[in-house]
Amino acid sequence: MKQKSVAVVGAAETTRLGKIPDQSLIGLHADAALNALADAGLKPSDIDGVATAGESPVALAHYLGITPTWADGTSVGGCSFMLHVRHAAAAINEGLCKTVLITHGESGRSRVGASGFARAPSSLMGQFEMPYGVTSPPTMFTVPVLRYLKARGYTVEDLATVAVIQREWAAKNPRASFKDPITVDDVLNSPMIAWPFRMLMCCLVTDGGGALILTSADRAKDFPRKPVYVLGTGESVETPLVSQMEDFTTSKAFRVSGKKAFDEAGIAHSDVDHLMIYDAFAHLPLYGLEDLGFVERGEAAAFVRERNTAIGGRLPMNTNGGGLSYMHSGMYGMYALQESVRQMRGIAPAQVEGAKISVCHGVGGMFAAAGTVIFSNEAP
């Protein structure tokens, strides 16, 4: 299968994460890119393919001094980087380029060189959602959740439990923004943002970035780092309007993307050693566990409550602390990918011993898009 012939040979985050008021958005892209190039032992002139979101691939290539023969500006929100990995694999396999740089950088907190969130009032969102007071993701991504809780018999305590376990993982990660333990009561007593969501059920807002370098598996063995192979990928989109999701209790994009990745990789769920599910909000890992097929519908909350995804559990999930506790610049997908790569390289702060397969699943917009990448540290 074509997807199996591509590997990650460089991966890095920005030098700093958190509050970085002295770097602009494109500066963060570049910092991450230079760190990933150093990781791979490459120079910008060695790169002939670029992909990015939140910034133009043209601006990125020019800023870094790259002359690409392939460029991808797919921008579908926080999972764009999962789609870039998928597209880069296809481009490399098709011979359009040999060495692809994927970057992310976002001044989510400091807003240096960043644009605002406003939607054109003539867009569908501007006409049919903005007039009702939606602002940032905490008032949109959250809209389906009461229907989901009712359909599944889940509770707000189940949402809080997701946040508590994320924090346990974060405690093992020196780069995590928040490391102090929290309880379900702490979460349920944190400030109300948008009922039923409390502050500790919502992701952080930080500055940062990350970058990946991919090349063909044939070439990958010549790089300084042990390659991390791409076994399978998936992507899909559903709707830019959260109000128009087909079903508030399941993400169609998640299901389509996840199935495609698993089919391409030719693996079973029981083969998966490590899992990342983009947790912009506490309900997303519950949707993800169900929609990717790790549990049946209605089983996700108990699966988390019984600590299957926690430290020592049989399916370690969001081992960097996730968007809820590690960091979240707005487009978190790159950080989930970085943690999957670290786990496959065996260098993660909360390393899952002996892990050979990592599934990394991202979401874009408010359930608008999804991307899934399955990695392995063993050549396929």
């Binding site: 009032p121 007071g133 602002t135 109000s243």
Partner: protein, 136 residues
């Protein structure tokens, strides 16, 4: 309070906003396939792609499908917590709205409660459709 963010109709959605101004919630449906009603407006059926679609007045009846209560309202939405809701119309499609005319609390906003449309004029051109409890 700054003026509320209002929609700018496009040629494809103008009939909907004209309807709101005239006190009528207008939906569209396909006359070619069995796909039924759809929303938001567009001049073709999103299920079969046919351009043979018609605009018709909906009943204005709905149930409360899901919602949040925003405790940090946008500057143009006042200072009190308010619902951001999705209702399921009797004709099938769902739309985002605000539930008005009742307390903005989890106790008052029960999922599946029956609602009916109500219109509030914002400008000479734009009237927004809101929903209010159908009983009491």
């Amino acid at each position: 309070m700054s003026p509320r963010l209002l929609p700018e109709p496009t040629p494809e959605t103008r009939h909907f906003w004209d309807g709101c101004r005239e006190g009528e919630l207008r939906l569209q449906r396909c006359t070619e396939c069995e796909g039924g009603s759809y929303f938001p407006p567009r001049p073709f059926c999103p299920r079969c792609g046919s351009r043979k679609v018609e605009v018709y007045p909906a009943s204005g009846e709905a149930i409360l499908y899901s919602y949040v209560i925003n405790h940090r309202p946008r500057p143009d939405m006042g200072t009190e917590p308010h619902s951001i809701a999705v209702v399921q119309l009797a004709e099938g499609p769902r739309m985002m709205t605000n539930v008005v005319g009742c307390a903005q609390t989890p106790e008052a906003l029960q999922l599946d409660m029956p609602l009916k449309v109500t219109f509030e004029k914002q400008t000479d051109d734009i009237t927004l459709p809101f929903f209010t409890p159908a009983k009491g």
